[in-house]
Symmetry: C2
Subunit: 311 residues, 2 copies
């Protein structure tokens, strides 16, 4: 059974409106005068991070990927609960706690509880984090509000995390140390767009974070909204560091568009909406379905895989 088949079984159970059909980045539940936004992501050794990864980076990423889900709802993080499987490697545990401390300090989100268990003698490191926050306003962005004519935007740069992974795994080399460091940092220490999410949440028609690849995530908005998302590959915001190493040709752009782990925000908005922060407009919603790509005004084919599909 694939992950998607299993999720379909769970969806049949998750009928409460706050679950959003298990088709969103987070659950959104009215609580008192505000909305409680909750997300839970797991990371497994050899699946989501390499055994050789710096444990401090793994801790940072565990926090960041969850906060990124809150960012996509415009929520202010209030706290986290962590589930941690120990495997008996004290150095790993200690380095992990160091990274966790850095993330807690950087994002000012308190660790409030959780559970520590033994992974058993032959177990893998499995990490779980629940982050929750508070969102104000009547409507919390989802993936299902895009309409034909709406513009598609993305925050920051796309592709740097993919580029960092290529450097980390020895598949590419940056000419200079600064470029290398910038791309590695994008991969190892993503920074969720919490402020941007809060500034945008009441103005957008859809919003989500880019975790599995821009095209794959865009296809999820397309599917939930029942529109086609036409993305202009030339408008993809590539960083100077990315371009220094990989150029800005079609192959590089395609890698950026499918690489994942960006933790930028992908959003749609009516073209009349004035958005309060700098964004890159990367395309337009049209009648239809799925994602399509254009370059220099011409429709081009989609790559074989739109992003990182979990096993």
């Amino acid at each position: 059974m694939t992950e998607l088949d299993f999720i379909d079984q769970l969806k049949a159970l998750a009928t409460h409106p706050a679950a959003r059909g298990l088709a969103d980045d987070a659950a959104v539940l009215p609580f008192g005068r505000h909305k409680l936004v909750m997300t839970h992501d797991m990371m497994v050794e050899d699946v989501h991070f390499l055994s050789s990864a710096d444990p401090a980076d793994v801790a940072w990423k565990l926090v960041a990927v969850n906060l990124s889900d809150l960012a996509a709802k415009g929520a202010k993080p209030l706290g986290m609960l962590m589930g941690y499987c120990q495997t008996g490697d004290d150095n790993w545990d200690t380095a992990f706690v160091r990274g966790l401390k850095e993330a807690i300090g950087h994002f000012c989100v308190p660790l409030l509880g959780g559970d520590t268990v033994s992974a058993g003698a032959d177990g893998k490191r499995t990490l779980a984090l629940t982050a929750f926050g508070e969102a104000k306003g009547h409507i919390i962005p989802a993936r299902c509000g895009a309409e034909p004519g709406h513009s598609i935007y993305v925050t920051g740069h796309i592709g740097d995390a993919w580029a960092g992974l290529q450097i980390a795994s020895g598949k590419a080399h940056a000419g200079d140390i600064e470029t290398s460091a910038a791309l590695l940092k994008a991969h190892n220490r993503p920074v969720p767009k919490l402020d941007d999410g809060r500034a945008l949440s009441s103005l957008v028609s859809t919003m989500m974070d880019v975790s599995d690849g821009l095209l794959l995530d865009a296809s999820r908005i397309a599917s939930a909204s029942g529109v086609n998302l036409e993305i202009d590959l030339d408008q993809l915001p590539l960083s100077q560091s990315f371009k220094t190493v990989f150029g800005e040709g079609e192959e590089a752009r395609m890698s950026a568009a499918t690489g994942g782990d960006d933790y930028q925000l992908l959003l749609t908005a009516s073209p009349e909406t004035v958005l309060p922060i700098n964004l890159s407009k990367i395309g337009k919603c049209r009648p239809g379905s799925g994602v399509s790509l254009v370059q220099k005004g011409e429709r081009i084919g989609l790559p074989e895989t739109l992003g990182f599909v979990h096993a």
Copy 2:
């Protein structure tokens, strides 16, 4: 590094008052006019459940152990997020979902989100659940309010889950089917004391759920409150099913007192407090520290292990 050493490192990070020093069953955070109560427990194959366990029972227990933490705070459950590692065994996954559905229906707590990941080819099943709820009133019970003179109470029966485990693992045999079924059910399908928790929460001086063994959990109240908990072994409430198989001698009572997985509530209250439900009074708080045992009015020695200490 033991689990306790690691938790000590985490405690240094968890300085927010809502974290309760990571020394409680749940985090308690003011949110609007009420309190948000949150807990997160993990279960690992071969550590917390046998590979041979019925996956539907595992799902039920994952929900029950988390809701039991909410019961100990007198919280009304509002929802759950689940983290699930797939290992590629479709039958297991399907049976798990069946048990999850039963638990969701029985406890009326919606599944609102979570994450499904691959455990990798050689990974173990690792399950994570976050449950959260709402508690009313100014003071939410903790482990640190017991005073000398307070009475010690427990809900329901103690020892049935341990007895069920003995039967499940072939270490004991019940004479009749009804007795066997009752004890197995206590082990496989614990029912958290949510209503009792809500009825008691504003009246108690401490409250927690009995998960790792009555004596071990009592020692945690003793430690947090700075008192001695003197427990009368003869007052332990044993079920008829338990007594049918194991009798009610000192050895049987000691097993019940240390067996764990009861998910009853252990609490202390001032002797003047009138408690609104039937409870068993099992002892008294005295000046001092730790747990001590009496039987027929005489102090007796503590067993070697007070309960289930996680590796």
